[in-house]
Structures are given as C-alpha cells and as structure tokens.
C-alpha cells in the first residue's frame, strides 16, 4: 500500500450540497454550495481561495472553461462569471423551476441547462438569445452531458431514460432514446444518473439500478462491459480519469473506489469519506482527484492513485471497455498487422514509428491544430511526469492520439516519407463484425451461423436453417473461438485463428451422415492464420496468411496446395469444382491495390482466368464475392453495384457486367429513404439482400428478413418519383408513356440478351438440364419478342424511323426463321411497305446464308 496520501480537506462552504469543477487547463478549481459565493482554488497552492460574491444561493451545478464558468442555482438562474476578474458577467438564462445541472460544450460556446422543466435549453454563451430547445423528454431532467466533440448531448431524464440529441444541425434532433440504463430517480436525489462520456469518445457509461457502472457503445447502442461495484447504496458520483484508464465511483455508503478500465478490476478503495460525496473531478493532468460532499467540504486528494498504478494515469487515451473493439477490423485477423484496423491510420502510425523527427508533420500534427480538444492537451507544467512519456527526440509520442484522429491524420498519408499503398483487407463473404458480443459468421440462403462470446473464454455457435424440416438447427460450445464459417446444404465449415501455441484450426461438420461421426478437424502449420474459407459441394478452400491456397476434399483429404500469385489474399468463393480466389495485386492509380481474381476448376486442374482484374471504381472496395445458384461469379462493391462475370470460362474473355445498381432503384427515387443493401446471394436470377436502414452497415439481431430485387441494368436513372404516396391521383390512368415503355423494352432486351449469353456459356461446358434448356429458349424468344415490340413502336412512330426498325430487324436472333417474317408483317400492318420490302430482302439473305452453311 502506498504511503497515506495527502488529503487536504477544506471547509469551502456552509454545510450543504457542494459541487465543483476544474478549468480544462487544471489551474483552477471552482466550488459552489448553498451560500451565496463561489470559491476559486488554485492548484498547487495552499492560499486562501478567491471568493466570488454576488452569487445566487443554493447552487446546484457548475461547469467551467479556462476563461469563465457558469453556475446554476435552485432559484432557476444560470449565471456566467469571468475568471479574469472573478466577477459576475451576466445571467445567461432563467428557468421557472430549479436548475439541476449545467454542462458546457468543449469549445465553451454552448451551455446546456437541465432543470425540473421538461425542456432542456442549450444557450449560446456569447449570444444568449441563441437558444436551442430539446423537448423530447416528458419529465424533468437530472443531468446533461456533452460528448467530447460537443455535437451530441446526453440528457438523463428522471423517467429513467437517456435522450441522446444531435446538436450538429440547426435544429437539434433526438437520435436515440436509451431505455433501461439509468434509474428513475427524483431530480433532487443525491444519487446520480449522469452520462459519463469515455474520453475516447466511442462509448459512455452510466450508473445503473444495480449500482454498477454500465458502458454502452455510442454508435450501435450495445451494452459493453460493466464495472460491478459493490456499493451498498446508490452511486452519487463517478468520473473517468482524463485518459479514460481509471474510473472513480463513490456512493452514499461513504466508499470511494478506483477501477481499472481495461480489466474492470478494483484498483484501490477509500472508505474514510466523512460525508456523501456529491461531485468528483479529476485534475486534467495531475494525479489529483477532488471531490465535494454534502457537508460543504472540499477535498483535494493528491496522489490518489497509488504509486504502483500511477503509470495508468500517464498513459495515452485508453480505449473504452468494449467486448470487441470495433477498431479491431471486421475480420479480426490477429496476424495481419498490415491489413488490420482502419486504413487511414495505418500508414500514419508506421510513419510515426519510423521517426521523422523534424518533419513538418510532427510540428503541425493533429495535436497542434486541434485546440478545441483540450482533453488531450496535456500540459506538463510542473514536470511531475504525469504527462505522456517523451521520446528521445524530445517530442511527445503519438500514443495519446490513438486511432481516434483518423480524419485529421488522413492528410499524412501523402505527407509521410514512406509511401505505403492501401491494401484491401481480407474478409469472409457473408459475415458481419462483432457488435456487442455477437456476430454472424455466415449468412446465406441456406441458413445462418452466429456466435456469441461468453466471458472471453469461449463462444457459443448456433447454426440455423431456413428450411427447418430439412435440417435441424444446432448449437455448440466453442472453445476454439471460430471466427469464420461457411454453410451449405451438405455441411458447415469453421475456422479459427492461431492463439498462443494453438495453431489455426479448420473444422468441417457435415449435416447428415450414415456413420456415427464424420466431422473432422485439421490444423494449419504454426503461425499460419486463415484469411478466408469457402465451401462447395465437393471441396473446401482455405486461403492463409502465408499466401497458400489449401484445398481439401469434403472428408479432410488435402487435395491441393499452391501459393496464390496475388497477395495478401482477400477472400475466396467456391461452387462445385470451381474456386475463385481474390488477392491484392499491383497498386492502382488511387493508391490502393487493385484486386485480382483467379478462377479455376480444381477437379480438372484447369485455370480459366488467371490474375485478372476485379473491376472496381477508384476508392471503392469489394463487399462480397459469391457464386449464384447457377454457378456464375458475382461481386458486390461498396458503391452498391452488383456485377457478374460473363464468358469467364474462356481465358481472357471475361468481363464484368453490372446487373443491378442499387443506388438507381426506384424505391430510393423519392429521396426519403436512406437505406443500403447487404448482399446475401443471387438465386433464380434475383438479387437477395438485407435492407439496412439509416447508417447501419451490417445486419444485426433479430435477423432481418431477406428482400429480393430483379436485375436492373443501369441504363437510365430511376423513373421519376411516382408523386408522393399521399397525393393520390384519381384518373391518371397512366396512358403508358411511350418513352418509359421504350426504356422498359430496351432494358428487357439488354437484360435478356445478357442472361442468354450467361446461360449459353454455362450450358456449353456443363450437361444442360431440361429446365436450363427451356430457360435458354425462353431468353432467346424474349430477345426476339422484345425486338418485335420495339420494331412495332418504331413503325408506329412514323415512316422516317424505318432505318432504326430495319437495324432492329437485323438484330433478331431468328432461330426458327419465323421472326423476320413476323417483323415484315408488323411493317405491313402499319403500312410501311418500303420497310417490309427491306425486311423481306434481309430474310432472303439470311435464308441463303443458312442454306450455304448447311451445304
């Protein structure tokens, strides 16, 4: 145990509730209490505090910037005081009911006022006529809290809900009502329900009914880890240390605890509080925690963190305690540091470590330009060593910047001396990243595999099928921590990453067997991790970090192994004997590696396409790769376009054809919907996907239903919005606008001829089933039929359009020789005799050619 820390207790105010705040630079500490003055203490001096008179009585809240502070009082006034001359500047706002809390935005421009009124006012400190009103809560408000950017405000209402507002727009809007996190307490209770933003900005914590402190991630509103305090009474105050590494909690049981954020373990405990502590504040840089109690006393507790843990305080901003840190990257490949994490931060970090001590970047780094983020700005004015460690060049290390400053650091990608191309990170098609403690490992038309992490030591994997009669759902406890899965009609394939001494494992479990046990497990060589896996009806494909493509049979027999030419590997897919692998190729013009794919037939050992380019637009990424049920490769990219590969069985003939551009869908044309599409599969010539509303990037639980869309080649923009659904038009019986009709026919023509090409190339290499043959014929006749309709439209339009009609007649497949005749008849019906004659000539020429061929 450390030597008894120095505690300086001071009678700051007459006995009663007392609150305090530090200025962001840590130089001053301001307290308010029941009596009509505020006191300003200077850090590190034992002098008598400065007293600011002409205050209200019964102050309930205080917040401070470096230049001024605001205090709220029970009589409903919020006053602003200058710290330069320690005088009352102005009364910012008055409420009709007692003020309960005030909060200042980090830039000091806005003050949020919580009172027993239903409305939270956000007042501009420069111009108090600028007020934003937050009205969504229907009870009084106990606490308000700005996040570190100042664009979000968390309002803890006395009805037990947190109302999260976005203040970035002109009109503040509520983005989320978080239920069940905080307790419903009276606005004048000593207990707290304040939202504590973690300094890393991605999560916040609140005290809960069970006297825990629960962490919740901000963007996806998932409960993350919790601090299980054993307070015997409600928590009355809590605070993160400035770098987020320590959490201090106290309660009316007169204990004060310090918790380690990373492990949520108790660091130290003080049980000698004299009265209930109502407010706590960490010194922004030093190892000091100050707190005020309900007896008018202020304690400035120096060296509160015992020396064995004091190093925690000097660390950079620590990540909030997530179950699965979202910045781990979506596949969580432990062994691939290059492709791991967010792309923008990577080159920057490397460049920093390489050390370019005198480059302009270090001088003009994010820490110099981001003045408003004073949380990070550590002033080491007394050299006490609490500030972040200083490297050998005399510069502060970049550690405290963390991964959070990616927007401002993006600039550095080009500025850094060593150029590092951006590499497409590896992904497993059909999987989602961790959200909370669960994720989908695989989601396709057969079923879905999801996993739940349980206390870090193991996961629980569940496999569910859409066809519940065909297969039984099953689940099992998974000590290997599988992080990838594939599912098809025959079985499920899993793989795990190497961990410590355990090598990576590939596990295959067939659904149906006639022997007792045919599932098998195989280990990869030590240190080799899995980047992607694929399962077909006959083979298992594993791409690894050593750039090997390993192919096994369904019963675990290693069948082939070879090194992938383009590396690092990105993903793979398989269908029957065909295997498609994608890897990073040469660097393209946009600084990103171009993706290259290879398709081969494993059984015949024949490569169809070798290291051909995956056609992506600049700066877009690949979202999914899969084979359709007919065995054609499809990709879906980050711009929302679905592409297929035509002629891929002939070497160097393959080309990417867009089949659907989801941004042009007519359902989006009204502009009211904001949604994205998460690809699942292509089956029956339809695109199956999950519709994600708003900002979501991945589906989550409960499993959303699948939607399907017909192919729609991006020929023209979406149809003009069908008015709005409210305004119903009575007699607009759509006189079949000839232009839209034309567009529709043109689209049908191109689509059916594309599908015809696709199917005929499939049939040329496989034994066609009767259904496929029928489908081919249908496409063939669909092309001709559409052409005939187009010819009819041209004939109708006028005599001068005959040339175009003749051109269309020339395009007719005319497999049975009847189509040209029909085209002639159409021309005749509209009285276009010249056209009819020309079509007749064309038909004769065709006939002659055909006879020649036969001879």
């Amino acid at each position: 145990m450390a030597p008894q820390p120095r505690i300086r207790g001071r009678q700051a105010h007459t006995p009663g509730s007392t609150y305090l705040a530090y200025t962001p630079n840590g130089k001053k500490l301001i307290t308010v209490g029941v009596d009509n003055f505020c006191r300003i203490f200077s850090t590190g001096s034992d002098d008598e505090p400065v007293t600011v008179d002409d205050c209200q009585e019964n102050n309930t809240a205080i917040a401070s910037t470096n230049g001024f502070f605001v205090a709220g009082s029970e009589d409903g006034t919020v006053s602003q005081y200058s710290l330069e001359n320690n005088k009352l500047e102005k009364i910012l706002v008055r409420t009709s009911l007692p003020v309960r809390d005030v909060a200042l935005s980090p830039d000091g421009n806005w003050v949020a006022v919580a009172s027993d009124e239903l409305v939270v006012k956000v007042v501009n400190t420069e111009d108090m006529t600028q007020v934003q009103y937050l009205r969504d809560q229907n009870r009084g408000v106990k606490h308000v809290s700005f996040d570190k950017t100042g664009s979000h405000l968390a309002v803890s209402c006395t009805d037990g809900n947190i109302y999260m507002y976005s203040l970035s727009s002109e009109d503040p809007n509520m983005i989320r009502k978080v239920e069940g996190m905080i307790m419903s307490i009276d606005s004048d209770a000593e207990a707290t329900s304040k939202v504590l933003w973690h300094p890393d900005g991605r999560a916040f914590a609140t005290p809960t009914v069970s006297r825990d402190v629960q962490v919740m991630s901000f963007s996806d509103w998932e409960r993350q880890k919790a601090f299980r305090t054993d307070h015997s009474a409600d928590i009355t105050a809590a605070a993160w240390s400035p770098n987020g590494a320590i959490l201090a909690t106290t309660s009316s049981d007169l204990n004060l605890y310090l918790w380690d954020t990373k492990s949520q373990k108790l660091l130290t405990k003080f049980d000698d509080m004299k009265a209930t502590v109502l407010a706590m504040a960490w010194h922004p840089t030093e190892n000091i925690l100050s707190y005020t109690n309900n007896d008018g006393e202020l304690f400035i507790h120096s060296d509160i963190v015992p020396s064995e843990h004091a190093s925690l305080l000097s660390q950079a901003v620590q990540p909030a305690p997530f179950f699965h840190d979202p910045s781990e990257g979506r596949s969580g490949n432990a062994t691939k540091p290059l492709t791991n994490g967010t792309k923008q931060t990577l080159p920057e970090r490397r460049a920093r470590r390489d050390g370019t001590p005198d480059s302009l970047d270090d001088i003009l780094g994010p820490d110099a330009i981001s003045d408003d983020e004073m949380d990070d700005f550590v002033e080491d004015d007394d050299g006490a060593g609490y500030a972040p460690a200083v490297n050998s060049h005399g510069k502060r290390t970049n550690g405290h910047l963390g991964a959070l400053h990616s927007p401002s650091s993006k600039r550095r990608v080009h500025g850094s001396s060593s150029f590092a191309p951006e590499i497409h990170e590896a992904f497993q098609p059909g999987s989602t990243p961790w959200r909370g403690n669960r994720r989908y490992l695989c989601l396709n038309l057969v079923g879905f595999v999801w996993t739940v992490s349980q206390e870090q030591s193991h996961h629980t994997v569940t496999v569910e099928f859409y066809d519940r009669e065909f297969h039984r759902d099953f689940h099992f406890t998974d000590p290997w921590l599988y992080d990838k899965a594939c599912l098809n009609e025959n079985g499920t394939l899993f793989s795990s990453q190497p961990k410590g001494d355990t090598p990576a494992i590939v596990y295959y479990r067939p659904h149906e067997t006639w022997t007792t046990r045919t599932d098998w497990r195989t280990e990869l060589p030590k240190g080799e991790s899995v980047t992607a896996i694929a399962l077909s009806e006959s083979y298992i494909v594993v791409t690894t970090s050593a750039n090997y493509v390993r192919i096994y049979t369904l019963f675990g027999l290693p069948f082939r192994i070879y090194r992938q030419k383009s590396s690092p590997a990105v993903t793979c897919a398989a269908w029957r004997d065909y295997v498609l692998t994608v890897g990073n190729g040469p660097v393209g013009g946009d600084g990103m590696c171009q993706l290259q794919y290879t398709i081969e037939n494993v059984k015949r050992d024949e490569v169809y396409q070798s290291e051909d380019t995956v056609a992506l637009t600049p700066k877009s990424t690949l979202s999914s790769v899969f084979f359709s049920d007919d065995g054609d490769p499809y990709i879906y990219d980050s711009t929302g376009v679905l592409l297929t590969l035509l002629h891929w069985r002939t070497s160097a003939q393959a080309r990417w054809v867009p089949m659907l551009d989801t941004t042009l869908l007519s359902r989006l044309s009204t502009g009211q919907k904001q949604e994205t599409y998460w690809p699942v599969a292509v089956a029956n010539r339809k695109f199956h996907c999950i519709i994600l509303k708003g900002q979501d990037k991945h589906p989550y639980f409960p499993r959303p239903i699948l939607s399907e869309f017909d192919f729609q080649l991006p020929l023209s923009g979406p149809k003009p919005p069908a008015k709005d659904p409210d305004a119903m038009h009575e007699d607009e019986d759509e006189a079949q606008d000839p232009q839209t009709d034309q567009l529709r026919l043109e689209h049908t023509l191109l689509l059916s001829s594309t599908l015809h090409t696709q199917l005929s190339s499939t049939l040329s290499s496989t034994r066609p089933s009767s259904a496929q043959r029928l489908a081919l014929q249908q496409f063939d006749s669909a092309v001709d039929k559409t052409l005939l309709q187009l010819i009819a439209a041209e004939c109708l339009a006028g005599e001068d359009r005959g040339m175009k009609a003749l051109e269309m007649a020339g395009l007719l497949h005319d497999s049975d020789g009847m189509m040209l005749e029909r085209a002639g008849k159409i021309a005749q019906r509209y009285g276009r005799d010249l056209l009819r004659d020309k079509i007749g000539e064309l038909a004769e020429r065709r006939l002659a050619e055909r006879e020649e061929e036969e001879e």
Partner: protein, 241 residues
C-alpha cells in the same frame, strides 16, 4: 322464400372469395409444386419468396410452415397516408390500385384474384378490392409477421369507420335518379352496406310508388271528370321535383 339469406353475398362468402387472392410467403420448409384445379402452385423452397393463394398461405402459416409477408399497403405508414386522404377528402373514396399494363392483345385481360394486388410487390398507396377482409384475416392468423400489428389494426378500424360513414352519408342523396360514386369501395364494404342501402332505396321506392299511384289515380279521376285541373297538376309536378 325458401332461402332465409338476404340477397347478395354474406360476409363469410366474401371472405371465401378473398381467399383466392395471392399473397407472398416466405416458406420455412420445402414443398413440391402442386397442380390444382384452381391453377398450379409453385414449389416452395425456403427462403425464396413465393406467391400463394391466401387459403394455402393461411394453412401453412397455421402449421408454422411459412411466414406471410404483409402487402405494402398494410404498413402503418401507408395506412396512415390513406386514412389522411380519406379524412381530408369528404367526397369519394381513395382510388383502387392502378391496373397493370395490359398484356399483348391476344391474351385475356386479367382480373382481381389473379392480379398481384396483395403480394409484397403491390402498390403501397392504394387499397385493393379485398382490403378489409384480407387485413382482418392476416391480422388474425399472422399478426406476428407484422411490424406493428396493434397500430395496423387500429388504422384498419379507423379506415373502415371513415369509409362506412361516407357510404351512409351517400344515402342522403339516394332518391329517384340520385347516385353515389362507389369507385374504390371494397368487397366487404359492399356486402356490409348492401342491407342498409338496399333497404333505404327500397323504402324510398315504396314511398315514391305510393305517391305515383296517388297521382295516377288523380289523373284518372280528372280524365273521367272531363276537365283537367291545371293548378293541381302543377302542384304535383312541383312535388315530384
């Protein structure tokens, strides 16, 4: 009369007709295609969507072999919009769904049970002919497939009341030669309103008939008496107007 039923279709009969409507289901198990007298039924292959007649969909739903996708016009958003339209426009009902483009000339035009007016691809802004009974049946059998069944139920109820009120109000003008435009009125509403409106029209007809009789009697009397009473005649005409 031997048949005690009132003329027209009874509500169960209308509901029976409605069961031929196509709805979209997401099957949860396989089923071979069926060749039925009423038309072939496509094979079910989970999780591919399929359009089935309502009776089969309800059967599969009760056996938990399928989930029914409610048509888009049964979403709270669409119903709210339609209800707003109904309450704002005092006259007339919200229009029925637009007919699909006529297929080429040589095929027969298709009519309601074979129109996809209640599948997942239906128009979201119009109530089809069988809206009331279909909504009721789906809410009864497959309320767990709705996002917000209680709200939908409430909105359907509201719509029903607004539209029935309009129907009843139309009776005011129902006199000889009067008429109510009934575009967009659903099947169940017709059968529901038939008894009342039919009764009113019948009653009006009887009143008019007795008056007519009176007039004829008078005329005959006058003819027999030999000199027409012009003043009386004019009065009669005024009455008729």
């Amino acid at each position: 009369m031997a048949l005690p039923l009132p003329p027209g279709l009874t509500p169960p009969e209308v509901a029976f007709l409605c069961e031929m409507e196509l709805v979209t289901v997401i099957p949860r198990q396989r089923l071979e295609g069926l060749a039925l007298l009423g038309g072939p039924i496509a094979a079910l292959n989970p999780p591919h969507r399929t359009s089935l007649p309502l009776w089969l969909a309800l059967l599969l739903k009760r056996q938990r072999r399928a989930n029914i996708l409610p048509p888009p016009w049964l979403s709270p958003h669409s119903l709210t919009a339609i209800l707003d339209h109904e309450t704002e426009n005092e006259e007339g009902f919200s229009p029925p769904p637009r007919l699909p483009p006529q297929p080429s000339n040589n095929t027969l035009p298709i009519s309601p049970p074979f129109l996809p007016s209640s599948t997942a691809e239906a128009a979201p802004d119009a109530l089809p002919y069988h809206w009331l009974e279909l909504g009721e049946m789906l809410l009864g059998a497959a309320s767990d497939d709705f996002e917000d069944p209680d709200n939908v139920r409430k909105l359907l109820r509201g719509l029903r009341e607004v539209r029935m009120a309009k129907l009843r109000k139309g009776v005011d003008v129902l006199d000889a030669g009067g008429g109510v435009q009934m575009n967009g009125v659903g099947g169940m509403e017709v059968s529901e309103g038939r008894a009342f409106i039919g009764g009113v029209v019948d009653g009006l007809r009887k009143i008019a008939a007795s008056r007519e009789q009176q007039r004829r009697d008078k005329e005959r009397e006058e003819r027999e008496n030999g000199y027409p009473g012009t003043g009386d005649y004019e009065d009669d005409e005024m009455d008729m107007q």
